[in-house]
Amino acid sequence: MQILRPRDLDGALDALAAHPDASLLAGGTDLMVEVNLEHRRPETVIALRRVGELAEWRDGFIGATVTYARMERERLPALAELARTVGSPQIRAAGTLGGNLGTASPAGDALPFLAALDAQVVLASAEGRRRLPWDEFLLGPGHTALRPGELVLGVELPDTVPARQAFAKIGVRQAMVIATVNCCVVRHDDGATRVAMGAVGPTVLRAREAEALVAGVAEPSPQLLDEFQRLVSKEVQPITDHRSTAEYRRHAAGVLARRTLERCLHR
């Protein structure tokens, strides 16, 4: 195995151009698990933690190697909330936003946030850059639109990121747990509402009928919330696996989305 440790973005992209099938290493929280368990033995690794451009966080842009620990401290409420639920403090010190995107787990905790904000994923290669909406980037479990020779530079958030945003996650342990269901709700100033649900489909999904139901409603009535909950439960596509059942996930998705919406509206 060879490891390349570029010190800037151009170096990283050149390395990637020379080794388009290289494994990208940032926090290591996914790659090293596969390496330790011998599921993966990469020939070439490109280590990204020295690339300053990838760690940038400025208005409207979050770099791919921003860690959960940093998200926890920053000012986007839902992002801070989700970051706090990821793994353990050790994992949060290492794991990155780009890793969550690259791994594309149906249960990835940062993904509902990106979906609820209609974020764009910025990809870079030696050829140039391109932007993909989150749902054109995330194609299925473990499957993304990333091409050989390309890396995730970061995500672009919309021009206005509303302050009313909230995240919640169900897991069967109080810490260090993979989501059974996770959820992010964003409320724009014009009343538009976005509801993104994770771990209840092949990728994170949006409950668009439910979104439409509560759009513009300042104080949804209990009856409207009942209907909202029902629609979310209807729109998700959960499966049964060793972590939970489809039936429970469907039920829980509705309850969780409803509560998260209420919390979001009262921010």
Partner: protein, 153 residues
């Protein structure tokens, strides 16, 4: 390949095979078995070390990427002759049973108290939630830290 890093204040060089984790290099190449290998996927914390100021799972650090890093392990905190106050407190308060999680927990507690000496019990529970202990049920660990805080106050 050869990597150079600073471990417990000492410059160290190790010849490593690709893919090796920092945990493996500490244990098998540098003779520092304090960090343990209970899960190899970042789900137990037994391999916790401080890497460039951050508490991390050394099993998830690719050693080749730790070139130039500063690492502190349980061995670097204290020795049998001169234990670190956290290490002494663990023994005094019964926080050591089988001991397999202990070096990682000790590193995590020392790191936390350095950064947040006034952490509450709930803060402590959250901060240590990545370090599984199968023997103690954590109560004695919390009592050890409470006693340390009292001493420092």
């Amino acid at each position: 390949m050869i990597i150079t890093l600073t471990v417990n204040g000492q410059p160290r060089t190790a010849e490593i095979a690709g893919w090796e984790s920092l945990l493996w290099v500490l244990r098998e190449r540098l003779g520092l078995p304090g960090a343990k290998d209970a899960c190899l996927q970042g789900e137990c914390g037994s391999c916790s070390v401080v890497l460039d100021g951050e508490l991390v799972c050394s099993c998830l650090v690719m050693a080749a990427d730790a070139e130039g890093a500063r690492v502190t392990t349980a061995e670097g905190l204290g020795t049998i002759e001169q234990p670190h106050p956290v290490q002494q407190a663990f023994v005094d308060h019964g926080a050591v049973q089988c001991g397999y999680c202990t070096p990682g927990l000790v590193v995590a507690v020392a790191h936390l108290l350095e950064r947040h000496p006034d952490a509450s019990d709930d803060d402590l529970r959250e901060a240590l939630s990545g370090n599984l202990c199968r023997c103690t049920g954590y109560g004695s660990v919390l009592r050890a830290v409470a006693a340390l805080r009292k001493e420092q106050a």
